[in-house]
């Protein structure tokens, strides 16, 4: 069966071709996906090949080198922008209980929301902080490498189709009023109250290639690290460790953890289940 043999051959080639196209993208456009989870990248590329009817990854490499528009399309494929307001409400409830009292002791609070995507969680935090009476004391940096999603985040306009989920999450998270107090509804969309993001700077920052830009008291980076391989996870956790002030808090996604990273002992658990950590005072932090 030559067809079957050909398929197997093409399949074998993919594992050779992927590192090459990732290198090409890095060299040409400066975006570094070389240490992303390989199976994630592979699924995305195969998906794109099927949609655009591209014969092989090598053909795709040729195309991406010649066409910036196609590169932008691929960039969209590789960035995950599935999020929701008050995602994992138990996390927000724990944050309110375990982190907010500490934040309240600061006269001025700097927050870095890394990989903020389309901003649903930035608004969620802003609502929570306002309800706790400390939003005015916060300076929030919300960053992502994808400029397109940052534009969406700035606008704060979302489809109403998810509103029931958002409302449910908000209530479960310990919200103190009604979510509808914070948005207006128009033409099948909701627009979040823009006064919530008065103190938010939305900025282009790439966790893989950029470095520390400020000292902050709190870092929120949820469901970003899971797309990185262990090497890159270590690098980014180091970056967070450097950026945090002493006793600063780090919040990861509910299935992410410091467990397999080399900074495991540089943080203590605030809520292990909800992945809320605190930078340890002890120096140097080494494995015991």
């Amino acid at each position: 069966m030559p067809d079957k043999q050909e398929k197997l051959e093409a399949f074998e080639n993919i594992d050779i071709e992927i590192p090459l196209i990732l290198e090409a993208i890095y060299q040409k456009y400066g975006y570094d996906f070389r240490k992303y989870s390989r199976s994630h990248i592979k699924r995305r590329f195969i998906h794109r090949m099927a949609i655009n009817n591209i014969e092989s990854i090598s053909h795709m490499q040729d195309k991406v080198l010649r066409s910036k528009d196609f590169f932008i399309e691929l960039l969209e494929d590789l960035s995950i922008n599935v999020t929701e307001m008050f995602r994992d409400p138990e996390f927000y409830a724990s944050f309110r209980e375990n982190v907010v009292p500490n934040l309240k002791t600061y006269p001025f609070i700097k927050i870095w929301h890394a990989g903020c995507s389309t901003g649903e969680e930035v608004y969620s935090f802003a609502i929570l902080l306002r309800e706790e009476g400390i939003l005015d004391r916060c300076q929030i940096y919300a960053t992502d490498f994808n400029r397109k999603v940052l534009e969406v985040a700035k606008q704060g306009i979302y489809a109403t189709r998810d509103i029931e989920l958002f409302e449910r999450n908000y209530t479960k998270s310990g919200g103190k009023s009604k979510l509808s107090d914070f948005y207006t509804m128009k033409y099948g969309s909701i627009k979040l109250d823009q006064s919530l993001v008065k103190k938010v700077v939305f900025a282009d920052h790439n966790l893989v290639t950029d470095s520390v830009f400020a000292e902050v008291n709190l870092i929120i980076c949820r469901n970003v690290l899971i797309y990185f391989n262990r090497d890159l996870q270590n690098k980014v956790i180091n970056l967070f460790h450097e950026s945090l002030s002493s006793s600063g808090h780090l919040c990861l996604g509910s299935k992410e953890s410091l467990k397999f990273t080399n900074k495991e002992y540089c943080f203590s658990d605030v809520d292990e289940k909800q992945k809320i950590y605190k930078k340890s005072l002890a120096k140097p932090c080494i494995k015991h």
Partner: protein, 189 residues
């Protein structure tokens, strides 16, 4: 030498899993990786339940965890489970596939890439088509495919779709599946 067994199921899934996982022996030489659609609910209670009645250790798969033989890993609710080439777990919050996250197709496809002809894929009772294309990918890369006989399944849509699309080597009633897997392992060359 088979290295892994992947299982996908949704409606009627717990019943079906109960008829298979407890029958796997203590020295079962394959890693078992499974997707059971349970919506936004937590895995804890059915994992505890299966642990109580099984000889193998059953757990929720953790991000970047290495996969070992003789253990049963379940995808966490609301995350896709992908297998990396180095036999570790990657979780993902990408869009739903067939309205499902975790998706059986995502697990099967990435498991097929990793384990190739050392993989057994199994589709059980369920109410959508998730898993059918993943099973086809397993077959194309040389793996063995087993589908629960739709005529006896609690929900037939999932096994029927898998049957139609992947043309599996085996279509058998639920109560014969554990035996079949053990025989396959014992008689492999």
């Amino acid at each position: 030498m088979y290295k892994a067994l992947v299982i996908g199921t949704s409606f009627g899934g717990l019943e079906a899993l109960k008829a298979i996982i407890p029958l796997l022996p203590k020295d079962f030489p394959l890693a078992v990786i499974a997707v059971l659609h349970i919506g936004d609910n937590q895995n804890d209670s059915f994992i505890r339940y299966l642990n109580d009645i099984s000889q193998l250790e059953i757990k929720e798969a953790e991000e970047k965890e290495a996969i070992y033989p003789g253990k049963v890993y379940f995808a966490p609710p609301n995350y896709h489970l992908l297998i990396e080439g180095d036999e570790t777990v990657t979780l993902s919050t990408e869009s739903k596939v067939h309205h499902s996250r975790p998706s059986i197709d995502v697990l099967f496809e990435t498991a097929a890439w990793c384990y190739r002809d050392q993989l057994i894929g199994l589709v059980l009772s369920g109410l959508n088509q998730d898993g059918a294309y993943g099973l086809l990918q397993i077959k194309e890369l040389g793996g063995i495919c087993i589908v629960e006989d739709p005529d006896n399944a609690i929900a037939r849509i999932m096994p029927s779709a898998a049957h139609k699309i992947a043309k599996p080597q085996f279509i058998i009633p639920l109560h014969q599946i554990a035996d079949k897997i053990i025989t396959l392992i014992n008689t492999q060359s």
